[in-house]
Symmetry: D2
Subunit: 283 residues, 4 copies
């Protein structure tokens, strides 16, 4: 894998943005590997993602920060740069169902996603063996009647590592707005329905009741409002009257795994830009 | 095409149903072409669809009715038989958008669906030319402030033919419960979202606002409650941040056409059984 | 899970088959859970699958065999019955890529598929740890220049257990016709293309060369002719010019896993009937 | 719709391309609406598509040509510019099946695709009425034993209008290499299979014989070698053992229509770049 940098930009749309960024990178001898742009013509917003090989790049991290800030200011850019050598530290959360966990751990071991899984946290004991098989520390933090205290424990465990991202891989507890704020970094959740259908508990039961002919899964960023955060990825699967609730739950697992892992990969590769309650996801 | 009969049965699940029906058909020398069964093990219900060639069948319509009633009673069957030579009479409704109309008319002309389109009704004048190209009488019944009176007019036009099925091919008015009751026969609607997401008006605008990554279309039977009737078919389509609302509307048309025509074909071929607010749709 | 029996029948299509089978099961008090039939009207063939609860069933295995043989003879049936309590014994084969193995082992542990995995066999050492984590004996049988001898070793390992099914979960060696014949039981392979496109080696490279816009995976029974056996299941995935060969290989893994596991599940649940070089797969 | 220009570029990948193009457009006050780039890192090729509003653009067509040629030379660019006000002239070809014709004519009338359909050509008489309903001249040119003479007639009819694109909307004759060369402009064909599977005649029959579980359709540019030209778009559809050949043909029509219209739209909007035997298709 190459040693690369990825630059993400959001700003008001204006003439000259691409020229400025392109000139900046060209002047410092960047060998561009990928570049994607998007204009939201309705809201007059501009989004850019570009990734370049650092091999011939003539400026270092500090210089980049200093120099690029000038361009950024001119266009009121919201920007960030990430270096592929800085892997994100991730904490995986789950409750009883471990299919998403097993899937992410396998992809981690096989380098399908370029992250560091630092820990698994569950309110049940069952994922211990699986986590440890992949050499990931497992923390059981049971859910009690005192959510505040539970969340305190979680924050304290998270604090041991420098966690950049929480992945809720079928974690069935809802975080308080305070927890989300204190943690401060992004949280990705997999919801087992095609949102906005079937918000909340037991979505497959809701889907079965309504008699839909297709089920779905949705990966989204967690916000204070339940299942309302910006959607990163979704997928659907055709079902029929033959499918019992058990079948829906079973078949749904396969799309949950794929949607969550795709969304996490997009996030880890800095392909996702949030604006308002929506996302731009560059492929 | 063969001259066939199709028998549809719903009843409480019990031992011996299949044997009874199979014996009945065998005794009267039916040459079975298709047979489908479904047990809903949760609700203890049984559903059956069977289609046979009438060539060698030894009893006529009256005899069938008389004789089969005995079997039906024994198992408390809700049943109906339809003969392929009796085509259903259909009325197509639309407002301004005519893509579903054009699609259904083309399929009608090419015998893709075995029905008689008897008329097109619209609250706008634009579909006149297209309908008449396919030799279908066109009735413009503008929507006024007086829904009762408008619906009276519609019922009077429908009354001229013996309409077995109304297809709402992007008809943007909502029928009153009274109209639905007076018409009495099934009404199929295409809703331009993946229900139960985005009920009601402007679903593509709602989808755009929510930032979903997939759009959908849903064909369902119309009941008194808006967009809540039994779902017959659905489909979905992947979109991205690049898609403007105009794109969603445009791309959505292709799934609307396909979902509606599939649902209508299933209904016309007696593949749909309603139970509660759900459907069994045999392929 | 219920204690059930599943009956599979193929025979020339004739009047009275369903009645005979239904009567037979009814007479012996079978509580039918699922029944599927298919008429191939072109080749005049009839296929049936029915599953019933053994709870109230009045005859035992020997009696069934003896009594049903009479019905079977009358209609020249090719038939088999399987009891859910008799799990099939399975051997998993792989070479270097272990994603299908990891997927099947996980499903095995979570009872998603009702089989006994008795062993993993590979021509490379790497899957040892993963197999043993799931308590499955691992046999490394390296490939040498002497295929006959290699296959002899494999047969000898298989002989230790009573293997009903071999699953080639990305095993990159081709079995000789002699091996296939000696083994005698079904072999399911996952081929990493949408057959019949890209038969043989390096199908993703072939797909990349041809510039297709969709890739696929195919699960099929192995016959003496390479990649030509009856297809059980397939799936496809949209790609674009952005995807390098590495991406195709990576993305393809997800459909390979799903297609193989679905095909294996269908086989294990006796949903697959082979006729000619094709399959009937009841859902 | 805006009055826009679209620039398409292919060239060897080099540092500075994006900066040069972006500067050029910025200097002449282009208001960029869309921009897409693609690096083929394996073949070291660079592709770019950019579309801008002409409202504030400071140079006219001749100036653009003259000035941009300098940039183009520096980077050995293969480039073309198209103005949205210059609609492409299109000739539609078909044989007996008219579903793709009906679909394209409908989209034409509803401005879903920004082209001028100038004529319909068929070797059968049946599409006359449909073409003329949409005010498109219809030419019947029957196929005789003398292909050269037939093609002469076709060229002569095409010569009456300035045809930029031929669309083979289920035209069942194969053009000679001479014809393709003489015509000189692109030809898009819809092949009713998932290429490279089932090249040539009767692909649904081939698919049925092979027992595939998914069928497909492929839109590609026509080259001298049958069904081997660069693929623009493909799609697939799940089928089952229940589907007769007639069903495959019927169901396939829906994907043929959609794939062909999508490919045509991509071509018309200058989203397709050919390289080698492959395409880049920007969404």
């Amino acid at each position: 894998m190459n040693n690369t940098a990825t630059l993400l930009i959001s700003c008001p749309d204006k003439k000259g943005i691409v020229a400025s960024v392109a000139n900046f990178l060209y002047e410092h001898n960047a060998n561009i590997l990928h570049a994607d742009e998007h204009q939201d013509n309705e809201n007059k917003l501009f989004f850019l993602r570009t990734e370049w090989d650092l091999m011939d790049f003539s400026i270092n991290r500090e210089e980049f920060k200093k120099l690029f800030t000038q361009t950024a200011k001119k266009f009121q850019m919201d920007w960030k740069i990430r270096y592929s050598s800085d892997k994100l530290n991730v904490a995986l959360f789950l409750s009883k169902e471990d299919h998403c966990l097993a899937d992410l751990l396998y992809r981690y071991k096989n380098n399908e996603i370029n992250f560091n899984i630092k820990m698994t946290i569950s309110n049940y004991p069952n994922a211990k063996e699986l986590s440890e098989f992949y050499n990931i520390p497992f923390y059981e933090i049971p859910s009690t009647d005192n959510r505040e205290k539970d969340e305190q424990k979680i924050l304290s465990v998270l604090g041991k590592s420098n966690i950049d991202l929480i992945i809720l891989a079928r974690y069935m507890k809802i975080f308080s707005p305070e927890f989300i704020q204190k943690f401060g970094n992004p949280i990705i959740n997999i919801h087992h329905s095609f949102l906005p259908s079937f918000v909340g508990a037991r979505p497959y039961h809701q889907a079965y009741e309504r008699g839909v002919k297709i089920i779905g899964a949705t990966a989204h960023y967690v916000t204070a409002e339940l299942d309302q955060g910006p959607i990163i990825d979704q997928d659907t699967l055709r079902i029929s009257h033959r499918d019992s609730i058990e079948n829906l739950i079973q078949k749904g697992k396969d799309i949950e795994k794929i949607v969550l892992s795709r969304a996490v990969k997009s996030h880890i590769e800095d392909r996702v830009l949030i604006y308002g309650n929506k996302t731009v996801v560059f492929d």
